[in-house]
Amino acid sequence: MVSDIVSIPKRFFKTLSNLRTGIVLLLLVVIASALGTFILQRPVTDTDKLQAAYSPATLRWLDRLSLTDVFHAWWFLTLLGLLSLSIIFVSIERFPNAWRSYARPYRKTDAHFRSGLQTKAELPIKNANDGLNAADRVLQKLHWPVERIIDGNQTSLYSERHRFSVMAVYVIHASLLLIFAGGIVDGLLGYSGYLMLRKGQTGNVIELRNGQKKVLPFAIKCYEAGQENYADGSPKKWWSKLAVVQDGKEIKAKEIVVNDPLVYRGLRFYQASYGPTGVEGVRVVATPTGGTAREVTLRLNEPVELDPSTTVTLAEFIPDFFIRDNQVFKRSDDVVNPAFRLQIKKAGSDQAATQWIFPAYNPVGQGQDADYRFEYRDLQMGYFTGLEVSHEPGQWLVWAGCVLMGVGLFVAFYMVHMRLWAVVVPDARGKLVLWVGGQANKNKDRFEQKFEEVVESIQQELDRASVAPRSAHKEEAELTLVAVK
């Protein structure tokens, strides 16, 4: 019994460190994610649409299985967690072996090793030293780093390239974990929301995705926002001039566009949308009888002083009007045929004069006389800029993971660990030969070509050396000597 209990963590480790478990987990993640794209997801779908798509009973079951929010469901997160654990455990299981062969590569050329190697060649030679030296020179010339291995009374050559590529797979898996870690950090500490500002407005309360509000320790002021269009009328650019305001001081200012956010204290403010809030007022030219004209902007219920004794107020705005029985009524909310009611007040008088402007018929205001003539100019539209706010402290882990993964993949796929051995041995008939062997951990067909080229160069060098045998001794001093126990 006791041993059973003790072995549970062990068995857990054993199961998860099995590659097959990893693949099954991967498959489950794939299936769950696919389900998450086929079934409408609550966070991105309106409730009405969900209710229209599924019957109440189906919807209840989908909700109960959290299939309407797969990517935030506990079981999906558990799956991802198990997958991460599996990656870690598989790596732990395999790492010691890999590290051993990485740290202490097999350099010896004993008979057993020689017979087991696939790629090899034997070149007849006359003299042991000359043969090895010729191989040495060729490898040096081809930029293979050469080590001279002395094993008992036998001397052999060992050379390798890109040994680190065997560790690349661990780099890739570590980078994947780094990305997951970034995601977890953001899931726990990150938040994102929305901030809507009108021109000139300052705000510091953002509305989070879950409907809650969050107050920032500083405020964002929107000076100006706008849209530029292409010739065909489709939007080309949205921009906002923003400033960070803290304790009444402006700390940082930036004009943001869609792909270029404002970043302050780890918070990023993105241009997400831009649009009209509606008609905010009207611009009119006010001309006093016998005086000079003046342009004023009138907003609803905000009195504007024309001269010290006269104020004018936009008392009513009707976007689309019609007249019946000498009364003005609203037809619709579309700004197609607007009407404005102005009230002109004299200081010290309770009475106000009323004038109507119907720009479609007559730009000049009509109604009671008020010593002023009002002429319509244009509508003043109000605009808002929609800012997406997000705080993602984990994103740097994610980017680091991406870069690391790029490096890891490059090394793993395109850098080959290649090894060469050379030793002088007697062949089957007792004649002295230079035995050359090679091995690559991938792309073996290309390596074989390369190996043949090396062998051919050695053969040429041997032929040359037999013509001029003096040069053999010179290079020996430059060699690295590595003794193998």
Partner: protein
């Protein structure tokens, strides 16, 4: 592999009269289409070297190459393959010019809409086909990739192609990085798929299983169309098309207006049934262990192809620029082939798949003789995936970085994102199985085929079936 029973027929002199007849025929066909196109262009008075003309030239040559590959399939004349390769190269040149022209015209790389992405995709597929052919000696890979290219170019002829200015979210260098990587990796996946198919052919994968798969694919296409588009009393519903606006007719936001083409539905039902029959015979043969049923299955495939061609012709004739009534709104509404690119694409794919199967059925030994060894094919498949996978990773990373700059979040489980991740996971599974479990040959080939299926779904399926942020393509 060394002791092959069948004789390699490549070595025999190929100057048989029938051998040249097809070359002449395809040559004449290409020349005729080119001259017609030239006359058409001259008559319309537009510039001769514009993108749509170039694309048309590319289509002609790709189709010519496809015809020659098919011709090889029917006659076994190895010379066709060489000419097909030349036709591919010419088509590729025209395609390159089309891409360049569009790039020049738009002042930006052509990646902004599904049309432009298909343009780049076809280009990459053709480029990789030529590379695989020349570098790895897989001479007949074009017989799979060229029909794919033809289907894509036909789709492109129907999709709205005018150069649209970029909406704000797309104005980013990351768009180009992201989409370039996507197209390169998808095209590499397509080539690995073709190579995996070649591997199965070379590996003596039973022709009967190919029969079952072809039949299953074709019936899946027809059943999907019938299931979604069959209307009461045998009609087929297609989207209404606004020729002036060059777009589908919308009733409301995202709600398309459908019109019903009478009687066409029955034809589709017939084709669906006909394409299921070979599959039934296949299962009968398996169940009763009687090979005679395979002969019946092959015959019914042949009949199925004829019926498919009839359906295709009927669809093209009836849907092309005609007006039909709609069950949802009174009055007649025009429709056009442009409104149903995916039905058309599906039909053409079905015909090509069946023709490819017949080519395999009749000329398997010649095909095998032209292919390098199974080991080579297996290795080259793996190599293409080794190219595709890092590109896929880079595509996702670039997309995430760009999303972070635009939408404020690097990962939002949008369908496109999720499916890109699924694609990545499938290929990751392939690599793990191959490297650590030593999966070679068939199982690896199945995985490569499955991977490409997922890629196609991510590329086209998600765009048209699943709603999401990734609305541009």
């Amino acid at each position: 592999m060394a002791t092959r029973a069948r004789v390699v027929r490549m070595e025999t002199p190929v100057a048989t009269p029938s051998g040249n007849a097809l070359l002449v025929l395809v040559g004449l066909g290409v020349a005729f289409l080119l001259i017609t196109a030239l006359l058409g262009a001259a008559k319309s008075g537009g510039p001769l070297f514009n993108e749509s003309n170039l694309l048309y030239v590319a289509l002609i040559f790709y189709a010519g190459a496809g015809a020659l590959y098919m011709g090889f399939g029917v006659t076994g004349v190895a010379k066709y393959v060489k000419f097909a390769s030349v036709a591919t190269a010419i088509g590729f040149t025209a395609n390159t010019l089309a891409v360049a022209h569009r790039w020049y015209q738009a002042g930006r790389p052509p990646f902004a809409s599904i049309y432009e992405m298909l343009l780049s995709f076809v280009w990459t597929v053709a480029a990789l086909t030529l590379i695989t052919e020349k570098k790895f000696g897989v001479k007949i890979i074009g017989s799979i990739t060229m029909p794919l290219a033809v289907v894509c170019v036909i789709l492109m002829q129907l999709l709205p192609s005018e150069v649209r200015p970029l909406v704000p979210a797309l104005q980013s260098t990351w768009l180009h990085v992201h989409v370039t990587l996507a197209m390169l990796s998808y095209a590499a996946c397509a080539v690995s798929f073709a190579l995996a198919m070649m591997f199965l052919i070379k590996d003596h994968f039973p022709t009967e299983t190919f029969l079952a798969l072809t039949s299953a694919l074709v019936s899946a296409i027809y059943i999907a169309v019938v299931a979604t588009r069959f209307e009461k009393w045998g009609g087929l519903s297609v989207t209404a098309w606004d020729a002036k606006e060059k777009s589908d007719v919308f009733l409301g936001r995202g709600v398309r207006l459908f019109v019903t083409v009478p009687d066409l539905g029955w034809l589709f039902v017939m084709a669906a049934v006909a394409s299921l029959i070979p599959l039934l015979f296949y299962f009968l043969a398996r169940a009763q262990k009687n090979d005679a049923y395979y002969g019946l299955a092959n015959k019914s495939i042949f009949i199925g192809v004829l019926l498919q061609v009839v359906v295709l012709a009927a669809f093209v004739l009836r849907v092309r620029d005609a007006s039909y009534a709609s069950p949802y709104q009174e009055g007649l509404y025009p429709t056009s082939l442009a409104a149903s690119p995916f039905i058309l694409g599906g039909l053409v794919t079905g015909v090509f798949a069946s023709l490819l199967y017949m080519m395999l059925l009749w000329r398997r030994s010649d095909l095998e003789a032209l292919l390098p060894s199974a080991e080579t094919l297996d290795r080259v498949t793996y190599k293409t995936i080794c190219i595709a996978f890092p590109l896929l990773t880079g595509m996702i990373a670039a997309g995430a970085y760009w999303a972070n700059r635009t939408w404020g979040s690097y990962w939002s489980w949008d369908p496109k994102e999720t499916w890109a991740a699924i694609t990545w996971l499938v290929y990751a599974g392939y690599l793990h199985m191959r490297v650590t479990r030593g999966w070679r040959g068939r199982r690896a080939a199945y995985f490569a085929i499955l991977g490409f299926g997922v890629v196609i779904f991510t590329f086209l399926g998600v765009t048209y079936l699943l709603p999401g942020l990734h609305a541009y393509a």
